[in-house]
């Protein structure tokens, strides 16, 4: 069944992957989650004639209206999924299309005992209240028998209009005016976002994940009741809060004991962030080093998803165990005197992103269920080479989505979603190490300690290219801003 899918005009790269993930979650592809095919199957999509890929208007096919409703209601970026009754480039064409739409699909929603509402919406233009009313009056050829109820109607109808315009207003170009009319099947619950917004969160760190993105990450990770989600860089728990909202059981680890154990006092810590929203507490929080995870050797395939934002050294740098310099007069190996062991604070060393991602892969390959998902952010310096971004790879994982979010002129981050499609073995571990070293050698000089930070923060004049033009020429930016939204 085809539906009109109207997106919010933001986080453009994240929109289709979110719908794909939720389709998987709600069984659009049949069978259970977890077969190898889960990395290859996808929904069928179409664009309205003459619409840009970044347009908010898409068509998508689901096996049933119920699945479509579940997907839309759980999503963050779907403004609405609609059963399309008609579309046209003018109101005359729209009328013709609606009249041709079969009665047996219209009449059940027009009955006298039901209530309804028509909303006029637009994209890229403003329609005054008076015009909206006129548009609604113009639909009198549809035999509405029900009662109008603006608050809680049984059926919601939408009339959505978008004009033809060039690309000068920062919106994706539309060649032809289009008017859609449809019955709403489901829509995102954006009320979640003010509820969970960071500014009302009790315990915050410098890199707490924005609520909207955290929900998108939880959706990419297929968080749901009975599933176990792990975040190895848990911090203040902002990603796990989103996963817990969707009913998942959560676990988190962090190398910084002050963050996970103490917070800012008894009522302002990671636990209180869950309490604040009446969410179940994490199954466990612990202090551990991602570089040397303390999981028992025989334990494998226990997590359903690993969702995290690794430290990439722009706003916060990674740390791992080690790095202690010997005090004067002492000889290696370093040792901690017996009487000082109790409250000893072990030293830490910088943890480069390349190494961090390698450890994350190794942990995930071992600890995720087959079909489980690894969802994490990966930073990329934006320059002329960033057209073909090379993402890190692992033999156990298949990349199914990469969603760019531009953070500044200089760098952006990609949300990578990977499915575990291969079983972890010692041989895999070794070949992954080779892949990692190779990747580090060829692609990732800037992932080494400090390079990304300096690429992001160094003054503009140090970034000039040989011919004297600054690397980032503001005027050269195309008028259509795409992923900036």
């Amino acid at each position: 069944m085809w539906f009109l899918c109207v997106f919010y005009h933001r986080l453009l790269d994240y929109r289709r992957p979110e719908v794909e993930s939720l389709a998987e979650l709600f069984g659009a592809f049949g069978g259970g989650v977890g077969e190898e095919s889960s990395s290859t199957r996808s929904l069928e999509w179409k664009l309205p004639d003459s619409h840009h890929l970044d347009s908010p208007f898409h068509f998508v096919s689901f096996p049933s209206e119920e699945i479509a409703r579940n997907v839309a209601n759980r999503s963050i970026l779907v403004k609405g999924l609609y059963e399309l009754w008609g579309q046209g480039s003018s109101y005359e064409e729209l009328e013709k299309a609606i009249k041709e739409f079969p009665d047996e699909r219209k009449l059940p929603y027009l009955l006298s005992e039901s209530s309804f509402r028509i909303t006029v919406d637009s994209f890229g233009k403003v329609i005054s209240f008076k015009e909206q009313n006129e548009r609604i009056q113009g639909l009198s050829y549809i035999p509405f028998k029900g009662r109008v109820d603006l608050r809680k109607p049984d059926h919601k109808f939408w009339l959505i209009e978008t004009d033809d315009y060039g690309s000068t207003n920062g919106l994706p170009p539309v060649v032809q005016r289009t008017v859609f009319f449809g019955r709403e099947v489901g829509a995102a619950d954006r009320k979640l976002l003010p509820t969970y917004q960071l500014k009302s969160r009790k315990y915050l760190g410098p890199t707490a994940m924005d609520a909207e993105i955290a929900f998108l990450m939880a959706n990419q990770g297929l968080a749901q009741p009975g599933k176990l989600v792990y975040d190895p860089f848990v911090g203040t728990g902002s990603i796990l809060v989103a996963a817990a909202h969707f009913g998942a059981l959560t676990m988190g680890a962090d190398i910084d004991i002050r963050v996970v154990r103490d917070g800012r006092g008894p009522n302002c810590n990671v636990w209180s962030n869950f309490e604040q929203y009446n969410l179940p507490m994490p199954i466990s929080l612990l202090r551990a080093d991602n570089n040397m995870p303390p999981w028992r050797p025989g334990l494998t395939e226990v997590f359903d998803a690993i969702i995290c934002d690794p430290p990439y050294g722009v706003r916060a740098g990674g740390r791992k165990s080690g790095g202690r310099k010997l005090l004067k007069g002492l000889v290696a190996p370093y040792s901690v005197p017996q009487e000082k062991r109790v409250d000893h604070i072990p030293s830490t060393a910088p943890y480069s992103l390349a190494e961090c991602v390698h450890d994350l892969f190794d942990l995930s390959a071992k600890m995720l269920m087959i079909g489980g998902r690894l969802v994490f952010f990966y930073p990329v310096v934006r320059d002329e080479n960033s057209i073909n971004v090379q993402f890190p790879e692992h033999p156990c994982f298949t990349l199914i989505a990469s969603c760019e979010q531009i953070l500044s002129l200089r760098y952006s981050r990609y949300l990578l979603t990977m499915v575990k499609t291969g079983v972890y073995t010692e041989e895999i571990k070794e070949s992954a190490m080779k892949m990692h070293l190779d990747f580090k050698e060829n692609h990732l000089k800037w992932l080494e300690d400090g390079n990304l930070h300096s690429a992001v923060f160094s003054p503009a004049d140090s970034q000039e290219v040989p011919d004297g033009k600054p690397k980032f020429d503001r005027d050269s930016k195309p008028k259509y801003r795409g992923k900036y939204v």
């Binding site: 059981l249 996970v260 507490m281 202090r287 165990s321 080690g322």
Partner: protein, 122 residues
């Protein structure tokens, strides 16, 4: 720290071959009700080292788990409840996890086990 976590952790001090199970020395623990999820229990059962769980449960005064368990027992509601209680409803607030090999103590404060190693243990 709940006993599920205890069941997943081992001592990774350098040179330790078998750091599991960690001996649980609980000084303070509380019980909090958690909603029972049968699907989760059935799934996680196969990942649990039963002897270690039963031993840890006894260390916090819960002796209601059998010494041995197999998947067939998951059909009994009574067993599920005990398994659920031991695994998820007992929170160790203060205490330590002790490496069976070296005696290294990993402290548990405010419910958080500190698994970070010292410089001479890595």
């Amino acid at each position: 720290m709940r006993l599920l976590t205890h069941n997943m952790l081992s001592s990774n001090v350098k040179g330790v071959v078998d750091g599991f199970p960690l001996r649980l020395e609980a000084e303070k623990w509380v019980e909090k009700e958690v909603e029972l999820n049968v699907d989760f229990l059935r799934h996680i059962f196969h990942k649990i080292e039963w002897k270690a769980l039963a031993g840890a449960a006894r260390a916090v005064g819960y002796g209601e788990l059998p010494d041995e368990a197999d998947a067939a027992m998951l059909d009994a509601e009574d067993f599920l409840r005990r398994f659920h209680h031991a695994l998820l409803e007992i929170h160790v607030e203060e205490g330590a996890l002790v490496c069976p090999d070296t005696g290294r103590r990993f402290p548990i404060n405010k419910g958080i086990p500190n698994m970070l190693l010292n410089e001479d243990e890595i």
